[in-house]
């Protein structure tokens, strides 16, 4: 009989193995746990039937096997579920039967061979050594070697290529002409090392590398979903990351602060701000969501993201069933989750640090208070719900200002010395997470019991688990697991210390691999967030280990890893593939070469000039609309580096989005750089690029045409044009000057932003006119304020800003 099953079941398994197994984990096992195992499992095995494992299910009880794989029709389990032969399970009248779709899923599963993906360490011990490469202990670093001991590299790139490559890699900005010339003409043997050190010491370095980290952790200034409420103090986390890179904060400390800064460094505002990491995922709780579900959503998110960020493990798979490829049993998942079970959302006081930019806070607060007060006043004037029937227009307007008032109330906190943080157990008065969330009082707080949830289903909890770290490193990596306390405080400290330990080989391997990827476009192991079996194997494991070993021996200095990589011949090779620069590098470079970049750092996010249609687009917020997008009135705020712009989950700058910006919801381990036609629209037609080109043209306008062309090439491409380029550009400039000789249209009068909403009460449409830009708005230069020659030169600049040479780094 067993052989017959095999024959019947195998083809189905081959086709639908993964699906059926996952279907079991997510849909069937929760039902077995909830509906069956109470009577048919463990000590209570009625009819001697135990439905807890596949083996015992096939063995069956006093009535014979419960399941015949591949043959649902004859399986006892299905017969009793359908009450076919007078025996019904669960027992009782017809109303007790399982829903038809559940029975249908069980039928499909049995017909597919009843594959079992359990939560009971079923795969334990079946791993090939080569799939466990990342969790093997690291060998000590051989100090006699360098990166070049592991790689063959060909000829060196020329110096112009090199300085552009390293400047963009380390600072996200192209080198200036004088920087290029200085390097090209520096005959000292230390010339390259000097450039590397200069760039590593630049404040621009931290801005560039913080962006990589923010990609991985999904940094945003808002919470996402229906209301997309502001996370008003999140900007302090962003600035913390910039500082950490600039100060070369030891990576082990960087980890400890982000996972357990509040516990390990009590009273330290910097470390408290760092714990914002744990709350970076999108999250919302409303009257329409279920508290237990939103809490679980956070717990799953933080468990998964902590493992992916620091350990390169895809722990999310183990939420529903034992990881099919890696030694990550479901029990480990929930043990790690139990570490976070006492983690509560707080926004406690945290004094501003001398290193934080607080210069704009007072003015910003005054302005936002005014805006918020206006909305509140309007809301109060309009009064409450009794207008619903007689005047739906007024009621919609009331709802609009009510919504704006709620949104501003959150936003106003961005100017306050508070941290977007967590605590172990609640802190009365500092709790955070919205009006609909109920908090326990600190005095009678009891840590929640954590259960294994087969299929990730909170409605069918199985065994309880105690907090603990992942067991794979003890088992396969010779790194003993520490005890994790069950007390409210100390769980995350234990986790942080376990990750940030020289004996944890994943931690250093994952980070140096990320760094290699950002320098070369491709990691040594290509899937930066997945060091398990399904991730690509490292192309050069010895090199990865050598880098990881050196990282730890140099006190986890990130800059030391940069030096190892950048000073190698491999990095200076002529044969690196070209990479299209990321969205932020493109925008920042356009601002930089046109002389418009503001180097202000830190503080609450600013609002850049974005596509006007998108800026004017109405955005739904639960029950009403968001206030209109407003670009920052001052150029120095609008033209900041992209990392300092307000990151709103529901409104990503379309220019960043079209050039493959990160989604802000999923961890972005590596940017896509696909080429799509809409990128051409953005860069060739977009107002922002036209404005910046005009700004540069106006700065260069007084020179001769030939000198203008030369300056433009120097500024934008960092070189002089060759003769054919110069001739073509000059010819274009002449033609364009003629074409521009007419009178350009005057600056259009800004029309007010009008938003329309469909009333949920009447189905009718209501329009709102938003306030216009303040008189203080500092406009960009407009063509009507310039000469034909300047306008023509702006077009030449536009062509250069669109060129492949500007968009690629070699």
């Amino acid at each position: 009989m067993r052989n017959l099953w095999r024959i019947l079941a195998l083809p189905a398994l081959a086709l639908h193995g993964q699906e059926a197994a996952e279907g079991f984990a997510t849909r069937i096992q929760p039902v077995l746990v909830k509906e069956c195992q109470g009577c048919h499992g463990g000590s209570m095995a009625l009819s001697k039937l135990d439905l807890r494992t596949r083996e015992s299910m096939l063995l069956g009880g006093s009535r014979g096997p419960a399941v015949i794989p591949g043959n649902a029709a004859d399986s006892l389990l299905l017969r009793v579920l359908e009450a076919r032969d007078g025996l019904q399970m669960p027992p009782g009248d017809a109303s007790k039967r399982l829903p038809a779709e559940t029975i249908a899923s069980i039928r499909t599963w049995i017909n597919a061979g009843a594959p079992w993906t359990g939560t009971t360490n079923s795969n334990w011990g079946h791993y090939k050594p080569e799939d466990l490469w990342a969790i093997r202990p690291l060998p000590p670093q051989d100090k006699s070697k360098t990166v070049d001991s592991f790689l063959q590299s060909g000829s060196m790139a020329d110096r112009r290529t090199l300085i552009r490559r390293v400047s963009i890699d380390l600072t996200g900005l192209p080198p200036t002409l004088s920087e290029i010339e200085a390097f090209v003409n520096d005959r000292s043997p230390q010339a390259w090392a000097k450039v590397v050190e200069r760039l590593l010491a630049s404040p621009r370095y931290g801005e560039r590398w913080a962006r990589h980290w923010l990609d991985v952790v999904r940094y945003a200034d808002t919470a996402g979903y229906s209301n997309d409420f502001e996370r008003p103090n999140a900007w302090r986390y962003r600035d913390y990351v910039v500082r950490a890179f600039n100060q070369d904060k030891p990576y082990d400390q960087f980890i400890r602060e982000q996972i357990a800064g509040d516990e390990l460094y009590p009273g330290n505002a910097e470390a408290l701000i760092a714990t914002g990491f744990l709350r970076m995922g999108p999250w919302e709780h409303t009257a329409m969501s279920v508290e237990a579900v939103t809490r679980q959503m956070f717990l799953d998110d933080v468990t998964h993201s902590t493992a992916a960020t620091f350990l390169g493990l895809t722990l999310g798979c183990a939420r529903c069933h034992d990881h099919k490829f890696d030694p990550l049993p479901t029990k480990d998942y929930y043990r790690m989750q139990a570490i976070f079970a006492v983690t509560e959302f707080v926004r406690p006081p945290a004094p501003f640090l001398p290193s934080e930019n607080t210069s704009g806070l007072a003015a910003g607060k005054t302005h936002m208070r005014d805006v918020a007060a206006q909305a509140k006043r309007r809301m109060d004037e309009l009064g409450a719900g009794n207008k619903q029937r007689e005047n739906p227009d007024l009621f919609e307007e009331f709802k609009l200002y009510q919504k704006h008032t709620a949104l501003y109330k959150e936003s106003l906190d961005r100017f306050e010395p508070k941290a977007f943080a967590v605590s172990s157990g609640p802190i009365d008065g500092a709790t955070d997470g919205g009006p609909n969330l109920r908090y326990p009082k600190a005095a009678n707080y009891k840590p929640a019991q954590v259960h294994v949830l087969p299929g990730g289903n909170i409605q069918s909890p199985a065994e309880t688990v105690k907090p603990g770290v992942l067991s794979l490193l003890e088992r396969y990596g010779s790194y003993p697991s520490p005890a994790v306390p069950e007390t409210t405080s100390g769980r995350r400290s234990a986790l942080a210390n376990w990750i940030a330990d020289a004996r944890n080989p994943l931690t250093a391997r994952v980070m140096v691999n990320r760094m290699w990827q950002y320098h070369f476009g491709k990691g040594i192991a290509e899937d930066a967030n997945n060091f398990g079996k399904m991730g690509k194997k490292p192309s050069n494991p010895e090199l990865l280990d050598w880098l990881a070993g050196g990282f730890m021996e140099n006190s986890w200095s990130i800059k030391s890893v940069h030096r190892s990589i950048l000073l190698s011949n491999a990095y200076q090779s002529a044969s690196l593939p070209p990479r299209r620069v990321e969205a932020e590098v493109l925008r920042d470079s356009i601002l930089a070469v046109t002389g418009e970049l503001s180097l202000d750092t830190g503080g609450p996010g600013t609002y850049p000039q974005i596509n006007d249609d998108v800026a004017r687009q109405a955005q739904h917020r639960m029950g009403s609309l968001a206030p209109a997008y407003r670009a920052s009135p001052a150029k120095r705020d609008r033209n900041r580096r992209t990392i300092y712009t307000f990151q709103q989950r529901s409104l990503i700058d379309p220019m960043v989005e079209v050039f493959n910006g990160p989604s802000l919801d999923l961890s972005c381990e590596r940017r896509d750089s696909s080429t799509v036609p809409t990128q051409a629209f953005t860069l060739f037609n977009g107002q922002f690029v036209h404005d910046m080109a005009l700004a540069l043209a106006a700065k260069l306008g007084a020179q001769s045409p030939k000198a203008q062309i030369r300056s433009v090439f120097e500024r934008v491409l960092g070189r002089v044009p060759d003769a054919p380029e110069e001739a073509t550009a000059l010819a274009s400039l002449r033609r364009l000057t003629r074409l521009h000789s007419g009178t350009p249209p005057t600056r259009p009068v800004q029309t007010p932003v009008v938003h329309t909403i469909t009333s949920e009460l009447t189905g009718a449409q209501h329009q709102f006119v938003h306030q216009e830009d303040p008189a203080t708005f500092e406009h960009n230069l407009h063509p009507s304020e310039t000469t034909p020659a300047v306008r023509a030169l702006a077009d030449v600049i536009l062509a250069l800003l669109n060129s492949n040479e500007f968009a690629y780094v070699y």
Binding site: M288, P578, D613
Partner: protein
């Protein structure tokens, strides 16, 4: 040395197929079809907010006698705050009448739609999993409640590739405001960016920055573009081995072909006046006019080779005054959706196009006491809803599935969203189990972990 400058004709009208087009074509190559398709396009009419099945296509006369009697529901910790407190049954304020040969009872406000019900398969068994708008919308649109995954249209674009390479293969026609959850509802997720939904805006430029800023003339643009191409050609000479540079040059050409083609597709002036009137365009109902334009545009886009068009109609979240609110919505969509079906049928496109109508969840038969008991409305209900399908391969003129006597729960042919997705892909010749993409350590698919075909919906 002479710089090779592509001619203007080449640039604007896409002369030679360079390396670039090869690179781009490779990116767009289709994964499917996996089996014989019943249709090759899909128009998804998304009713955002959760239309009430009870007040549209699934009347519940029993609620008439239960009206304002107390509603008993088990309270457990998996209940949202919204559903707490004293609750009462609420009858539908609408009249219902049989329509078509099939004889389905529908709201009498559907004056035009009642004429086309025999081309429609009504499905009363679909079940959502979330009663929260953004998560339920993400679920319906992407298969995952938590956002960030590729949308249905992105998967279809990935699976079937593009027909007209001058147009995007996945187009979204949003309402006046973006829906809750925003652009993540039409995200390409982890699929290549070319599969992202392109929202066409009803005001301003339909595609962002498709036109240069005001005052830039075509002549000026042409000179600038020629200069750009000569610079790129010169650069290419220095880096002859890199195909992606050529792909980027090609993308500018593609952009300008799109710039030429898109306005032709979007220009409704070539339509006959009676066609416009049929869609409710130019009539007295302004909402119907706006929705009619989006529906007509959907037909034109599908005609031009767009694979998946999503038309979004907002405003179905009628917690209060459902008579006004749903009444106005129904009057606004009645002509446009009926005209769309009729028009597709007339042109023969209906055989190869699936039209779907539905929202992120249904509504409850009960309500809390709001507005002194006069403001009847309905709350969210994930356990029961109605959607409908029309077009190729669909069992038209039938009702599939059923809800219980109050409309609280689906009881027949009940299927989760993932099965609905599997079924839509199936009609388009795609097998969810094969349409996969490796991301973050596993093969991912629209249904997440597999689903079943809803055979009852198919011919």
């Amino acid at each position: 040395m002479r710089i090779a400058t592509p001619s203007r004709r080449d640039l604007l009208f896409g002369g030679g197929m360079g390396l670039g087009s090869i690179a781009l074509s490779a990116m767009m190559s289709a994964q499917g079809p996996h089996h014989k398709a019943r249709a090759k396009n899909c128009i998804f009419l998304l009713m955002e907010g959760g239309p009430s099945h009870i007040d549209t296509f699934d009347p519940k006369p029993r609620l008439g006698s239960l009206h304002m009697t107390k509603f008993q529901k088990e309270r457990n910790k998996f209940e949202a705050n919204m559903n707490t407190g004293e609750r009462y049954y609420v009858k539908s304020p609408f009249q219902f009448r049989r329509a078509g040969k099939m004889g389905i009872e529908i709201n009498t406000l559907f004056e035009s739609f009642r004429e086309v019900v025999d081309d429609v398969c009504f499905y009363r068994g679909l079940r959502a999993e979330s009663v929260n708008h953004p998560t339920a919308l993400y679920h319906l649109n992407t298969g995952n409640q938590f956002g960030g995954d590729p949308a249905l249209g992105a998967w279809i674009s990935y699976g079937l590739g593009t027909v007209n390479k001058n147009l995007p293969s996945f187009v979204v026609l949003p309402d006046t405001a973006y829906p809750q959850g925003g652009a993540a509802n039409w995200s390409n997720g982890f699929l290549p960016a070319i599969h992202q939904g392109t929202p066409l805006r009803s005001t301003g430029s339909p595609v962002l920055d498709m036109r240069p800023p005001a005052g830039v003339t075509a002549d000026e643009q042409r000179v600038t573009l020629d200069l750009l191409h000569s610079l790129n050609a010169r650069h290419q000479q220095r880096h002859p081995d890199h195909a992606e540079l050529a792909a980027r040059i090609e993308s500018y050409e593609l952009a300008f072909r799109m710039q030429a083609e898109m306005p032709r597709v979007l220009d409704l002036r070539s339509e006959k006046p009676e066609t416009l009137a049929m869609y409710g365009i130019g009539g007295t109902n302004q909402d119907a006019d706006a929705i009619g334009r989006r529906c007509l545009l959907a037909r034109r886009l599908v005609e031009a080779g767009v694979r998946f068009v999503q038309v979004i109609v907002m405003g179905w979240d009628s917690h209060d005054f459902i008579e006004n609110a749903h009444g106005a919505r129904i009057r606004a969509i009645d002509k446009p959706i009926s005209a769309l079906l009729g028009d597709l049928k007339r042109t023969g496109l209906l055989d190869e196009t699936i039209v779907v109508w539905g929202g992120e969840f249904g509504r409850s038969p009960d309500n809390g006491i709001r507005g002194g008991g006069e403001a009847w409305g309905r709350d969210h209900n994930a356990a029961a809803m109605t959607c409908w399908l029309a077009g190729g391969g669909v069992k038209t003129g039938s009702i599939v599935g059923a809800t219980d006597e109050t409309g609280l729960k689906g009881v027949e042919a009940v299927h989760p969203i993932r099965d609905f997705h599997v079924t839509l892909l199936h009609l388009l010749g795609l097998d969810d189990a094969k349409l996969r993409y490796f991301h973050a350590g596993r093969e991912k698919q629209l249904s997440q972990t597999g689903g079943e075909l809803i055979r009852e919906l198919l011919v």
